[in-house]
Subunit: 206 residues, 2 copies
Amino acid sequence: MSRWKPDARGRLEKAALELYNHQGFDATTVAEIATRAGLTERTFYRHFTDKREVLFPGDSPLADTLANATATAPVPLPPLEVIAHALTEAAPVLEERADLARQRQTVIAANPELQERELAKLAALASTLARTLRERGLETTTAALAAEIGIATFKVAFERWINDPDRHTLAQHIRETLDTARHLTAPAEHVAATDDVSFTGHEGVA
Amino acid sequence: MSRWKPDARGRLEKAALELYNHQGFDATTVAEIATRAGLTERTFYRHFTDKREVLFPGDSPLADTLANATATAPVPLPPLEVIAHALTEAAPVLEERADLARQRQTVIAANPELQERELAKLAALASTLARTLRERGLETTTAALAAEIGIATFKVAFERWINDPDRHTLAQHIRETLDTARHLTAPAEHVAATDDVSFTGHEGVA
DNA sequence: TACGGTGATGTCATTAACTGTCATCACGGC
DNA sequence: GCCGTGATGACAGTTAATGACATCACCGTA
């Protein structure tokens, strides 16, 4: 038999998620996680730089899919539509692991430190997206802005999805949020006509 | 004479910024900061929850200005224009403290933990903005997205400003970045004509 | 078959970020 | 002149994070 039980990293991730869920992030100790995974605290730190990092898979299929879809979108497409394409392709990746996603999100929502880390991850994603857009020929500022708006759209859509009592698809929420984004950034001429009607945006899950 | 030297908090902020600048964030100890400010480590933690928080003033004139300007913008205005109005009003607040801002940004740029905290602060700002927009009558998703887009615009404009060798105004960069945002959805026609030319967005400091 | 290198893990020690608790003592009101 | 209050100091304790060294199954190779 082999010297060590396999998939130490996976065991640590599992143990951490469970403990964070049961006792909260603050109340659980790295040593605890390690012990539950049959390992040592020191070994935990060989797999994750952080007590937080254990919730954020280094191998992120979401990031890969997004980057790929962005790179391969048809070229003569306005930036926001490239983003739309990428987000739409990426949605199923999360749908597959819906309950894991919800569980993670519950833990994260309960702790500011974890929220910070999540924001950092999303920012890194935006950064990657921006680079890809530049490689597609977009000017720096345009690329950065489009990427940020893409991530913003994702954030909003994701949150709607997680809290949606009707359990609509993430893809569905992304479509709708993108639509809102399209109208927000649309040239102002459209609105000049509406004088007494305040702008209320676009509503509802179709 | 009074028992304690005045403005303990201010002294701590100053000492911290100096030390973070000279030796880096990681290499400076809270005890060091406190000593340089003529205080105790324990007292540092009575003024700031964190070693990082000392760089992020609780009393943020930027946040106040943004929220105010958002609340008081003329009502029949499309969301993005409300944001434009708010950002434009807020710009001078930072211009006044340009070198402090640059100094802070240098420190933050050198440390991931500080970048995380900054993202958290911006996210909080977005959250406030969104609430204000909702109070103006915007639907939840529209408000959230508009707020995120506003903050994204600010981030991009701010970064351009900090790194601008020509030292143009922050307000100027905000105007241009907003313009880029307005054109992100550029209808396909714009691009359809250009067949071999990739979409390059909008350029340059006018 | 023996042997040496490798990689994942364990053990131990250390630093410093944070927190709880109690003591101090000028200041201001009464 | 006494008393509560608030900002600070003193001290002890927890634990996150890191560096240094030891262990030892496994694997290729002579």
